[in-house]
Each structure stands twice: as C-alpha cells, then as structure tokens.
C-alpha cells in the first residue's frame, strides 16, 4: 500500500480523506497548509500527494510549484482537491506541475478510485 500525504486546512475534509485512505490500508501523513506540507515532504518520501487548493499561509498551487522544484518530488503524482470546477484554477494547478485533480464534492469511493487510478 502507498504512502500518501494529505494536505487540507479543513479538519473535517482532511479527516475524511485520511480516514478513507487509512481504511483502504494506505499510510497517511497530514498537513494543514502548503508550508507545513513541504516540511513533512522534506522529512519523508511519499507515493502520492493530495492537496487542497485554497489554504492559508501557502496555497496548494504554490506548494505544488515548490514540490516540483525538489528532486525527490519531480515525478510523484500530486492531485489537487478542488471545488473549482472551472478550467482556470485547474490550469493554474497544471501549470504549477499538478498531475490532476479530484473535484469536490467526492465521496470515499471516488477518492479511492482516483487514488487507485494514479497509483495503478
């Protein structure tokens, strides 16, 4: 099973994501904003990063940009969790280096299906 970093400032969303992934047997680390996620990412390695877009301190897009600048995270899949279904934000995330996105709202099954899709 994979090691996944879940980044979201919302405790309930992060809780739901982590709970679902752990239930599926994954190892999950949590961070509540981009800055803290970078600290966690530096100290460990992950197979997948799931990140909210809108967060205080450092948003998800800036975080992706920083992660992609790190050698260890050049090819690691990063999915943005976003409610913004319009193209603009997705493209901004893409331009920063995100692999893809999962549009909120999603239910646990959708989350697991998407994670499976990325991890193969």
């Amino acid at each position: 099973m994979a090691k996944i970093l879940a980044v979201d400032d919302s405790v309930s969303m992060r809780g739901m994501v982590a709970f679902t992934l752990r239930g599926a047997g994954h190892e999950v680390a949590e961070a509540e904003n981009g800055q803290l996620a970078l600290d966690v990412a530096r100290g460990s390695s992950f197979d997948l990063v799931l990140a909210d877009v809108n967060m205080p301190v450092m948003d998800g897009i800036a975080m992706v940009r920083e992660l992609r600048a790190m050698d260890a995270y050049k090819g690691v899949p990063i999915l943005m969790l976003t409610t913004e279904s319009h193209t603009e934000k997705k493209m901004e995330g893409k331009a920063a280096g995100a692999t893809g996105w999962l549009v909120k709202p999603f239910d646990p099954e959708q989350l697991l299906a998407t994670v499976k899709r990325v991890l193969g």
């Binding site: 809108n54 692999t99 709202p105 239910d107």
Partner: protein
C-alpha cells in the same frame, strides 16, 4: 452508497464552518470600516470555499448550493472584477447569517432551505454577472450511440513531469472497452542523438482505437488531467451522425423547494447534551500534574496507615495538609477546564454595532477589552443576551445622534466600551458609553406615571438609576425574550441574578453611563450557610443572606390567613417556617428557640425559621432534577463533609412563596 461512514465528520464540519462564518463576518466588518487588506478578501473567500466543499462532501446540498453562489460573488471580488462597497458587504453579511441558520438547521436535521434563504440565493445569483447555475447532468450520463472511438494521442515532452504516465491512461482505457493500438510513433521533438535523450521527457505518440459502446464523457475523463500536456483528438468510429446529436442540456436550474413557508428565526438551542468544549493543553497538563501529586500523597498516607505508630502523628498531619492542598488545586484545575474566554460573546458585538449604526443612524466606535477573561461555560452561554440588550440600549438610548454630539462639543462618533476582568472571586463585565447619561427628569417622570414613585418624592442619583431596573418601568408589556427590542432592564437584572450575579449602573449627565455586571466565577460551587431543621440540613446561599437573628415571641404578629410577620428595619417581613415548608417532623417550632435568617432576592425579603446555624461551607451544587425531580423551594443538593446530603434553598423561589403568603 458509501462504505465509509461520514457522519463522524459532521460535528467537526459544523464546528469549523461556524468558525469560518465568524471569520468571514469579522473580515467583512473590517472591510466595511475601511480596511483594504487583500488578505481579508482571501480569508472571506477561503471560508466560503471550505464550507461549500465540506457541505457538498458531507451531503448538505442546500448549504452547498447557497454557498456556491456566495462564493461565485466572492470570486469576482477576489479577482478584482467587482469592487467592495457597503451594499456588497451588506448582502454578504446577510449571506453569512443565512448560512449560519442553514447550518444550524442542518445540524439539527431539519429542512435546510426556506423562503428566506431561497430569496437571498436568487438575489445573489442576480448579482453575479453571467452566473449560470450548472445543470447537474454529468457528461458521463450522455451515452453516445457509437461502436467506439478513434483516439490520436501525442504526448508533449513535459508530460512525465506532471506525474502522469501514458501507461496508466492505456490501462484506464482498457477498462472501458477493448483497446487497440493502431500505431505508436516517436514525435519530432525527440533529439536526433540518443545521448541527448532526457528520461524525464516524453517524445511518443499513439493512434488508438477503443471498441465498445463507450460514452464520450468516459473517454474524456481518462484524459481530463492531460489538458496542455498532450495533443488529443477523439472522433467516433461509426454512427457519427447519431453521435453528433448529443442532446443539449436545456435544464433550467430548479430552485430547491421552499420547504418552510414562513421564515423561521433561529435561536441556537443550547443543548448541553453532546456539546463539546475545547480545552487548552496547558490546562490538561496542570490537571495531570495535580493528579500526580494527589497519587503521591495518597500512597504516602496509606504507607503511614499500614503500620501506624503515634510517633508518626507529625507525618500524618503533613500528609493531610498536602492532601488538602492537592485536592483544592485539583478542584481549581477542573473548574478551569470549564472556563472559556469571553471573546466568543464579545465577537458578536462588532456585527451588532454595525447593524445598529445603520438602523439608528448613529456613529459608534466599539472598543473591546479583556476578551481573554475566562468565564464558566454555562455563565458564558447565558450572559450573551443580557449583554446584547445592554449594548443595544447604550446605542439606542445612551449615545446621541452625530448632530446632537456635535452640538454638545463631543466627537460625532460615540464610543462604546466593553470590558471584562477578574476582581476577587468574580468576573466583572462593563459596558460604558460616552453618551448623554441617564436622563433623570425623564426617568422620574416615567416612574411617576407608572406609579413606581410618588409625585414630589426626593430621589438620590443612585435611587433614580435603580428605577430603570424596576419591573414595570419598561414600556414593553411583560416580556422575557431578551433578543426582542423594548424589553425592560428588569429582565436583564433577572437574567444576571439567575446566574448568581448583580448588575448596576453609574451615570454622569452629558458624559455617559457605565453598566457593571458582576458574575460568580462558576455556578457549580456556592458559598453556603449550613442550617439545621430537625434532623435535616439546609444550605442557604451566603450571598443572599442579609442577617440572622433570634426573635422574641412578642415581636411576631399573626396576620390574616395564618401567616406570621415580624418587624425588621422599617418593614414587616413574612416568616417562612422551613420545617413547615419542607415537612420536617422533629424541628424546633417555638420561634424563640429557633433562629430567623433574613434572605433577600430582587429587593424583597423573607425570614426563614431554622433550628440552628451550623457553619459556613462551600457546596458543590448537584442537580436534584437529574437524580430525583424538581422540588419547589429547592435549587439543588450537595454532600456535606460528614457524607450526608443537604438540600440547597432556592432563595428566589422561597421569597416568592413568602411574599405570596404575605399578600394573601
């Protein structure tokens, strides 16, 4: 159907949403008072965004739908397509109220959307330029009548760097139907020399055929993350004409049914059941620390007890002193857990003041001091309404209009100050304004008109100020709802008294008024006088005792109806024989042999006849209702140091009972 139970996250969602709305409101108010910080706009947007995302995830569709529109409006502000003006802030503040009410209803499992929320949603939709509420028809549901798709897919060199992998795409396509690779090729972007090949770059392209009645939406979904990372053309294999005729979605967004025909005002139901409390880690650490000391003391005492010799008396005494200290400190630590900062109540006021300024056409600067002062949670929950009333009164009656202030040589903007601090064993909350002060002439005139004072009666300043707290002074008819307007100060005083506190006012003509509320630190412990009535013990709260005295038989007069009164400081007080009221058999019935304890509530006094006074004790109040049932004249029970149970006298109830008898 979800295999994971999401309801466990609902409470967290409601809590963080409430916090988000508070942050939104505070930021909106800051913007309204002229702040231009971009971060405020981001804060507001983020809060709405999180609520929308959470609401949708946890199945609160109406909340999500409403918040979506509000968020769209905020997005225009964030991207600077819309300017912030007071009109916009008003509508957003109303939206915050609406979301708060919707969440409240959601958390209670009640229907969420009502006529009010729907009207506001429509108003927001109209504000958002070109807003089209997306029809909830997923593209995937449009199954095209095709036998398969031709897919031309050419990766751009950076595709791998986004964490995407062509192999993954093929695996996904295979799950949709039979995948046939017609051709794979190397693109022109590939370097001429193998040595120059960068493994992180992709220079490949494919022509694929996907066989089967696969929906276009499903194929698109496989490639949805690759926009900008590849060149892609997808064409239907056959039946092209039919596939083109994909029905246009002409669904008009249907507003959620207005499930409640009349707007309902929400009052937060303060159910203590299942309510949680956030405790700072330092408080928990203090508790654990005290617990540790208690355990050490206990083991030391049991050590002494096991092989006790008289020579160890000194150690025993030391141990007991330690035990007493540890117990007291543990008690304080536990009490502190229930203490919350008054900020949660104070934070309501910027909004209230903002609304009142507009409504009453006044200018007010609000100053908050001592927000971190901590109060017992129960007191905190109940002090909000009286404070709201005092603030409303201060702005409505205390502060003058800008024109009047100018004429009086004051700044046009009035100042309203809220201050909370500890004083002795009490919490003091002050509400002061720099307005006109109490209008003595008007108060006296009104009091005379209502028959509270006789015409021509001379009154001191303090007596005049006291008049506004008299029942019947207010213009409003008997009302207990503090959230309504026009409710009397007597209700404020009663609510504060119910919390074991007091309220008073000081005023200086032309300079302003200060209302001072004094509250006990906690409702869970009272200082009481232990009295004996027969074999029973009754505790009288110390704060309500005026005096205790022994009466001579000839000082007592019988009145019509069998009641007894006695003369005490210029008035006749009814005597309440506790043994009779609570049916105690073996009690002292001869007044000369018993003791009369004079208690006071709301300025009314009653003498309680008891056998004897046994001493003063701190009593931990236990609810009688929770263990037995409500008993008239009794507010609770406590356990005495000898292990027996004593009942606590409900002073208000007993005084009312006594006064009724006197009147009868």
């Amino acid at each position: 159907m979800s295999a994971v139970d999401l309801t466990q996250f609902h409470k967290t969602f409601f809590e963080e949403s409430r916090e988000g709305l508070d942050a939104m409101e505070a930021a909106l108010l800051a913007l309204d008072s002229g702040a231009t910080d971009r971060e405020l706009v981001h804060t507001i947007f983020r809060a709405a965004h999180s609520i929308k995302g959470g609401a949708a995830t946890f199945g609160f569709a109406d909340v999500a739908a409403f918040t979506h529109v509000a968020e769209s409006l905020l997005e225009e502000v964030r991207s600077e397509r819309r300017a912030v003006d007071s009109g916009l802030i008003e509508v957003l503040l109303r939206s915050v109220d609406c979301m708060r009410a919707m969440l409240e209803r959601s958390s209670q499992g009640r229907p969420v959307a009502d006529a009010e929320s729907e009207a506001l949603r429509v108003e927001l939709v109209q504000l958002v330029s070109g807003e089209v509420v997306a029809p909830a028809v997923a593209a995937a549901s449009l199954v095209a009548p095709v036998s398969g798709w031709n897919i031309a897919f050419t990766a751009l060199p950076h595709l791998l760097q986004t964490g995407n992998d062509p192999l993954r795409l093929f695996r996904e396509l295979q799950q949709l139907g039979r995948l046939e690779v017609v051709r794979a090729f190397v693109t022109d972007s590939a370097p001429a020399q193998l040595a120059e090949l960068d493994p992180s770059q992709c220079h490949l392209g494919w022509e694929l055929r996907l066989h089967g009645a696969v929906a276009r939406g499903d194929v698109d979904a496989v490639f949805d993350w690759l926009d900008g990372d590849c060149e892609l053309t997808i064409t239907p294999m056959v039946d092209a004409a039919a596939a083109d005729a994909v029905p246009q979605t002409s669904d008009v967004p249907v507003p959620p049914a207005a499930s409640a025909s009349r707007p309902i005002r929400e009052t937060a139901t303060a159910s203590s059941e299942g309510s949680s409390i956030r405790v700072g880690i330092d408080k928990v650490d203090a508790l654990i620390n005290m617990m540790g000391e208690l355990v050490i003391t206990q083991s030391m005492l049991s050590d002494i007890g096991e092989k006790f010799e008289l020579s160890q008396l000194g150690r025993l005494r030391d141990g007991l002193v330690q035990l007493e200290r540890a117990t007291r400190e543990l008690q304080e630590s536990v009490m502190r857990i229930r203490m919350l900062p008054i900020a949660s109540v104070f934070n309501r006021f910027p909004r209230l003041v903002h609304d009142l300024e507009r409504k009453l056409d006044k200018r007010v600067r609000l100053e908050l001091h001592g927000e971190h002062t901590e109060l017992d949670k129960t007191v905190l929950e109940k002090i909000g309404d009286p404070l709201v009333h005092l603030v409303r009164n201060a702005i409505d009656h205390g502060l003058e209009s800008p024109a009047q202030r100018k004429a009086a040589g004051k700044p046009e903007t009035g100042t309203l100050k809220l201050n909370a601090y500890h004083e002795g064993g009490n919490i003091v909350v002050q509400i002061s304004d720099d307005g006109a002060g109490l209008n003595h002439a008007a108060i006296v005139a009104k009091a005379q008109q209502r028959g509270l004072v006789a015409a021509g009666q001379e009154l001191s300043d303090a007596e005049v100020a006291e008049l506004i707290f008299q029942p019947g002074f207010s213009t409003a008819a008997q009302a207990t709802d503090l959230s309504g307007r026009g409710v009397g100060m007597d209700v404020v005083r009663r609510n504060v008294r119910d919390l074991g506190g007091s309220v008073g006012v000081r005023s200086a003509s032309g300079k302003g008024s200060t209302f001072t509320i004094t509250l006990p630190l906690t409702l869970a412990i009272i200082d009481g006088l232990v009295t004996a009535v027969g074999s029973e013990r009754y505790i009288v709260p110390l704060t309500s005792i005026v005096e205790s005295l022994r009466l001579r038989a000839d000082a007592v007069r019988k009145i019509a109806g069998g009641g007894e009164v006695f003369h005490f400081r210029d008035e006749y007080l009814p005597i309440m024989r506790l043994h009779r009221a609570f049916a105690c058999s073996d009690a002292v019935t001869d007044i000369e042999r018993g003791i009369v304890v004079v208690i006071e509530e709301d300025g009314r006094r009653v003498g309680l006849l008891v056998d004897d006074l046994l001493g003063q004790q701190q009593a931990v109040v236990k609810s009688l209702e929770a263990h037995y049932r409500r008993v008239q004249g009794i507010s609770g029970a406590t356990i005495l140091s000898d292990g027996s149970v004593a009942l606590i006298v409900d002073v208000g109830g007993v005084v009312r009972l006594g006064q009724q008898r006197k009147a009868a």
